[in-house]
Amino acid sequence: MVNDSILDVKRIREDFPILRRRINNKRPVYLDSTATTQKPRAVIDAIVNYYENYNANVHRGIYRLSEEATDLYEKSRKNIGNFIGAREDSIVFVRNTTEALNLIAYSYGNLLREGDEILTTIMEHHSNIVPWQFLSRKGVKLVFADINPDGTLNMDDFIGKINKRTRIVTVTHVSNVLGTINDVEEIGKIAHDQGAVFIVDGAQSVPHMPVDVRRINADFLAFSGHKMLGPMGIGVLYGRKDILESMDPFMGGGEMISEVHTYGSKWAEVPLKFEAGTPNVEGAVGLSAAVDYLRSLGMDNVRGHEKYLVSYALERLGSIEDIQIYGPKDPEKRGGVISFNFRNIRSERIHEQLRKEGIMIHPHDVATILDMDSVMVRSGHHCAQPLMERLDVPATSRASFYIYNDRDDVDALYDAIGKVRGVLRI
């Protein structure tokens, strides 16, 4: 294993004002970037600069300031599209991944009929399950492909479940619980061979590795700005242009029309057709600055850094007795996410019946105890309850890594985990 990261984490940390904070007089060890990332000074400055120098409503004014604001907004679209290998006219700004997936479920869902099928996986976030459940009202069937014991997608099961009725295949690129990196290129090929459209939930991939929509065969790609150093409230739906053009609008109102008459309207061109109302210009500008920041590090380096950290974490946490780690053991197949549990604790100190069954230390207690050392991990079902059921646990603890984390953070996690049984005296 390499001992040095490709990224200069000490320098990177200086770019993140929040990491200077002390919580309980301790350095914050932020290990919840899967939920949302911290923001570098460059992103904060871009937003302030927008409001101090360019704020006006976009696509409306004839005056100079409005044109400049529009120009900034549209340049951001182009820059962000460029980041994923897409042209700006196939980039729709939305609030987040959830909204992007709901947009497709609504607008593309309109084209589906009774008996059509949607194939997804058991490792999806609720945002890639619930919108599709809405379509069951019109008789569209939702089908789940299973996972293997190592947390990778069971491709045999997946292939067995795709058929001529499958109209949509929708899969997360990287699981926010297992860390599993799915072979979306291959899945996309299989989907297209069956004539289905292929949707990729990129919430956990676009921030962490190079993603090019052409390479992964995606017809749609959804991701959130706030999980990639950008502000909250801005997200992206990439869609193949001809498919976007064939779809009805999602919401109606200003901005998304070309003509409105009393009893009918014409839609604006894609992508504005899907952007009803005043958009989040500040968000687009901030996300564009985040993309510039990531590009300056190099996405290959970001991925390399996380691979290095996750293999170190797998090695360290893997050495702790009582800890069960979920997901692939191979860092090549895993993003910078580790879910774990203390399971089958058979302490002499516990109630006889509980001891016989072997209790699990609840992730909420783990997270509370880790927080005493300012080690911030997530605990709960991570908006993936079907996966929790599949793993047969109510919840897990989850640590996730990003560009501002280093080996010291993994060591802090390891040390804090070592205190859990002591605090509970179990």
């Binding site: 992730p363 509370t368 109510p394 509970l424 005296r425």
Partner: protein, 128 residues
């Protein structure tokens, strides 16, 4: 925000831990007068409370379920509080009563854990 907000008092006091590791009244009950379950969607905790009620009195109480230390200890302490008591006492019980019996300060998220058993208990006596 003051630093105080972030000062984490240790909520894992020995009294809490003892009730977590060795919960009182743990286990199911045959032929209870009433049996109710509830869950906390935030953490997936589930709890079932069984009551045997005779002449408007809780003559026996048990609970089963898994959860965090706070929810387990709280169920243990709550069931101890109501055993042998009149239904009127149970109906008059307030959240503050349980909190003062627990003797710890909890963050809003962990309050939900503490009140899971309380909610299920209130639900189980509502029909009497």
């Amino acid at each position: 925000m003051s630093e105080r907000d972030y000062e984490l008092d240790n909520i894992y006091m020995e009294f809490i831990l003892e009730n977590y590791r060795n919960p009182k009244n743990y286990g199911s009950m045959d032929n209870p007068t009433v049996e109710r379950s509830g869950s906390n969607p935030l953490c997936g905790d589930e709890i079932t409370i069984y009551l045997r009620i005779e002449n408007n009195r809780i003559v026996d109480v048990r609970f089963t379920g898994r959860g965090c230390a706070i929810s387990q200890a709280s169920a243990s302490i709550l069931t101890e509080m109501i055993k042998g008591k009149d239904l009127d006492y149970v109906k008059g019980l307030k959240e503050e009563d349980l909190l003062s019996a627990l003797g710890i300060e909890l963050s809003p998220a962990r309050l939900k854990c503490a009140f899971l058993s309380y909610r299920v208990l209130k639900d189980s006596v509502s029909g009497f």
